[in-house]
Every structure is written in C-alpha cells, then in structure tokens.
Amino acid sequence: MRDALINSLFQLADKDPNLMLLTGDLGYGVFEEFEKKYPKQYLNVGIAEQNMVGVAVGLALEGKVVFTYSIGNFPTLRCLEQIRNGACYHNLNINVIATGGGFSYGGLGMSHHATEDISIMRALPGTTVLVPTTSDESKAGVVNLYKTGGVGYLRLDKSKYVNVELIDKISIGKANILRKGSDITLVVAGGIAQEVMKAAEILSSANIECRVVSLYSIKPIDIDVIRSACKDTLGIVTIEEGNLAGGVGSAILEACYDNEFSPKVFYRFGLNDKYSAIVGSQDYLRSYYGIDCDSLVFKIKSLINKQNL
C-alpha cells in the first residue's frame, strides 16, 4: 500500500511547495526519492513522535499542509494528546499516515499490533478517518485528506490490495462497492478485505450472493450505503482487523441506530477486547482470531441459515 501512498505524495508535493512530509525515522526504502526531489519538504524528525506532532502543529499554524508518517501505533497513540490539543483543537490541515494497521507486523508483538487506532482516531472531534482497501483508495486517500481541512488519519496495512478497479470517484464520506450482491452485505475496511472477497466467492458457490463494501471513509460515514444494505439485503456483517469497541462495526451500528435503520442481521468480526500475546504472520493471526476467510464463511452461512429457518 505504501507505493500508492508515495505516488500521491509526489504529485501533491510537486504542485504545492507548502506540503511537508514528516517522518518519525521510519520509511527506509520508501522516502529516499522524495527527500532527494523535495529536500525542503521532507523532514525526518527522529524517533520522537510527540515532537513530530508538535512541530507539525507549528508548521501548520504557519500555513503548511503537513503529513506525519510512522508505523503501527507510533504516529497515533504515542502522541495522541498532541494530536488532540494541537492538531485537532486548532483545526489544522495535518494528516497522520500509519502503515502496519492491524496485524501487519504480527510477528513483532503487541507493541506493533495497531488494533485500537481506528476507534481512537475516530473519537477525536473533527477528524476524517480513511482506511483504504484498494490501490485506488490508497492513492485517493492522500489527495482527499490534502484537500480537506482539519486532521486526517490514513490507515494503511501491509496486505496486498484487493484487486478491484473502482470506477466511481473516491471521496470522503463515500463507501465503495467491491462486489455486487443482494443477499447480505459485508462491510470491511483495510487489507482484511482480501479474506472477505475470498469468502464472498466461496459463499457465491453456495448460492449466497454477498455485497462487499469497502467502507473506506470510516468518518464521515456513508449513510446511503448503510441504508441500502439494511433495506435491500438481509443485513450487515462487519469485518475489521482491530478491536471491536469503537471500531468499524461500532461506527455502522451507530449509524443504523441514529438513522433508524433496522437490519435483520447484524454481526461484527474483530477482536473482542483483546491484545494478542500470540505472534505470527498476519494470515496466522487472522485465522487465530477468527477473522479469516474460513471463519467468515462458516459464520455467515449460519447467520443466513438461521434467517431461513
């Protein structure tokens, strides 16, 4: 996902000398070209995330558009209060980019499992939270955030993109349909979508046609897509590679309740109030925590069967 990111940053930096990219000493093999081409717009602040956000606030108060970059929880949780009091309260165009969402760095241990970042960044007033699933969404995400004032969060992971070309314009507040279907709607955000797409294929062979939605814009959320899922399909299943509390599924539930939508079926896949002391590859951990393709197929079949009884 990082290649798409860097392509977009190149394009924006080329047009706008006020764009600045700050990294907390991460991005080896990613930012060298950027630094070479735009030395005045690139800054490695060192391993000091609190200062990185503070400096970003100072730069943004002076009119710069700032992207901060690190991995896992470092650009969000480590400097959360600086983001809250500085970036958010002053309504600055500061955009936080994290790679390594969910279990991307599964083997590195819980310090590197970014499993609460979506909930936490979503909870800050005024933020925009984007979690791309496809290459197009990732590229567009950087541009969307650049063009939108206020604090943005772009959460990438190390998974391969879902290989779906999106035809409609990718914009903030709009979800994207990855697969058409009218039996049940699967709403997903991030690299875990690969598992969801595989599951949808298998379910299709069992005559269950899943609509798969890349939520993309976790905040603001696409009410129309949720309305349609509740109205035109049996209900919604959400899949996220993170803690359930306050995450993607929570956001959809809130939208349903607030708008008086009543899905017949609602189920959330994710981590249930857990840290992972187990390590392993991203695939291994997805399977271990029951958010892999097989677990999805099994559960979704049983949800549908229950309704058909």
């Binding site: 200062n51 606030v57 100072g58 730069l59 108060l61 002076e62 309260y89």
Partner: protein
C-alpha cells in the same frame, strides 16, 4: 519615561488585572502567573513586534505560553497592549466564557496557541521557527516554559530538534521559580545542573533575574548563532508578599482581606 519604567508600569497593571481575575473567577495558579508577569511585560512592552489591531500580521513575532496555567497573565498583557478591551478580562473563568484558566486561542486575538497540557508548547514553537526559516522570514518565536514542566520528555525532544536545525530565531524563557505542584523542583525530579544540561543540548544559555526588566531585555535582545534559552530566576507569587515562594498559592484564590492586601501591595509597589 525610560523603557524599563514603561514595562514596569505594564507589569503593575497586569498584576492588578490577574489578581482581580483570579479573585473574581475563583481560579487558581496565581503564583504561577505572578512569576512570569515581568517576562510578559518585557516581551510585549519592549521586545516583540506586533500590531494589536492586526493580530495576524504575517511578520509579527510569535509568542507561545507553554505553561498554559498562567494564561491569565497572557490575557491581561494582551488586553493592556490593545488586542482587546480590558473589560473582557472580567469574563475570565466565568460560566460560558472563552477565557479559560489555561490559555486558549479561540476567539481571543493575539493568542497563537492553546496550551494547558505541559510539555507541548516548545515543539510547536520549534515548528513555527522552522517554518520561518523555510520561508526566509525574519520574525522571531518566543516561548515561556515553566521549570516544573521540564519534567516532560517532549521538551527534551524539542531541545534536540531546535538545536539540530539551528533555529536561532527561537528564544525560550524558562520561568525558574523552583516550585512545582507539591514540592520544589529539586525535591521532585531534580533539574540541576540545568544550565549545563541545556548547554550540552547545544543551546545558547544565559541566566538572569527574571524580575529585572533591563536584565531580561538585554538577554532576550541578544542575537545568537544557536537557539537561545534564558533561565529567568523568578519568585513564584512575585509582587504579593504572602504569596511569594509559597506552593499553596499554586492553588488558592485570594479573597476577602487577603485580596485587599494583594491589591494594596501591588498598588504601592514601585
């Protein structure tokens, strides 16, 4: 009237305002505010370039109060320097007011940054100073930090950052009153040898009496190759005898006879 007399007069007015504001609002931190009044008076009365009728003038010098709990002092000095009417100071700490106990920028002309969580001002000031360097601007950035606040590691990240990037357009004034929330700085988490620490972080460091306006002015007004720190030795509660050097006045609100005495002392001083 000499420059020093002018800033003394400004400091006196600010002291009067802040004691009244804290009394009316029933708020705390008066000791911390009085500690930096002379620094504020010298900065706003003699050093900084600004246009009070045009607070966002692009070439203005920037001021950040990192020890946000002394916000009443900033509000008062801004009002006295014409950023807004002094009557608005009556709203401090009142229900529905925007004049919060910790300094806030929202709707208050002249405040660059809202603070209140310690250790967050210097990184922002460094970002502003860096921006000025990038854009080849000549304005300066000033930040006032509390000494207790130096417990926060984020300051030390910024100390490294500013010297690494040669931000000699940045001046930090440390309010060295030696008292923090419960005990002295040295009993809590010793800062000394502070001067040597800061020199080793590659800053230009000087030390002054933080209530002597001429000393403050000449230290602030000196150009340096490196970013500059002035350790201003101050007295918490300065200007009101019973508050001076007393930790309890980090919390207490002067009222009744003590309020009257405070006002009397400030009036009679100088």
């Amino acid at each position: 009237m000499t420059n020093s007399m002018k800033t003394q007069e400004l400091a006196k007015k600010v002291r009067m305002h802040v004691v009244k504001m804290v009394n009316k609002g029933g708020s705390s931190h008066i000791g911390s505010v009085l500690s930096i009044v002379d620094i504020l008076a010298v900065l706003y009365g003699r050093v900084m370039r600004y246009k009070s009728h045009n607070p966002e003038w692009v070439d203005r010098d920037r001021f950040i109060l990192s020890k946000g709990h002394a916000g009443a002092g900033v509000y008062a000095v801004l009002a006295e320097c014409g950023f807004f009417h002094t009557e608005r100071l009556n709203n401090h700490y009142q229900n529905g007011s925007i004049f919060s106990g910790h300094v806030s920028h929202k709707g208050i002309p002249g405040v660059e940054l809202s603070t209140g969580s310690l250790g967050q001002g210097l990184p922002v000031a460094s970002g502003m100073a860096l921006s000025a360097k990038i854009d080849k601007k000549n304005h300066k950035v000033f930040a006032v930090l509390g000494d207790g606040e130096l417990n926060e590691g984020s300051n030390w990240e910024a100390f490294m950052f500013a010297s690494h990037h040669h931000l000699n357009n940045l001046t930090v004034i440390i309010d060295r009153n030696r008292l923090q929330s419960i005990k002295t700085t040295e009993e809590t988490l010793s800062l000394e040898p502070l001067r040597e620490k800061l020199i080793s972080f590659n800053w230009d460091v000087s030390e002054v009496n933080g209530h002597d306006h001429d000393e403050l002015f000449s230290a602030i007004n000196t150009n340096t190759q490196k970013p500059k720190i002035i350790i201003a030795n101050t007295i918490k509660g300065k200007g009101v005898s019973f508050m001076e050097n007393k930790i309890e006045w980090h919390y207490r609100t002067p009222s009744g006879k003590l309020f009257d005495q405070a006002i009397k002392e400030i009036k009679e001083n100088i």
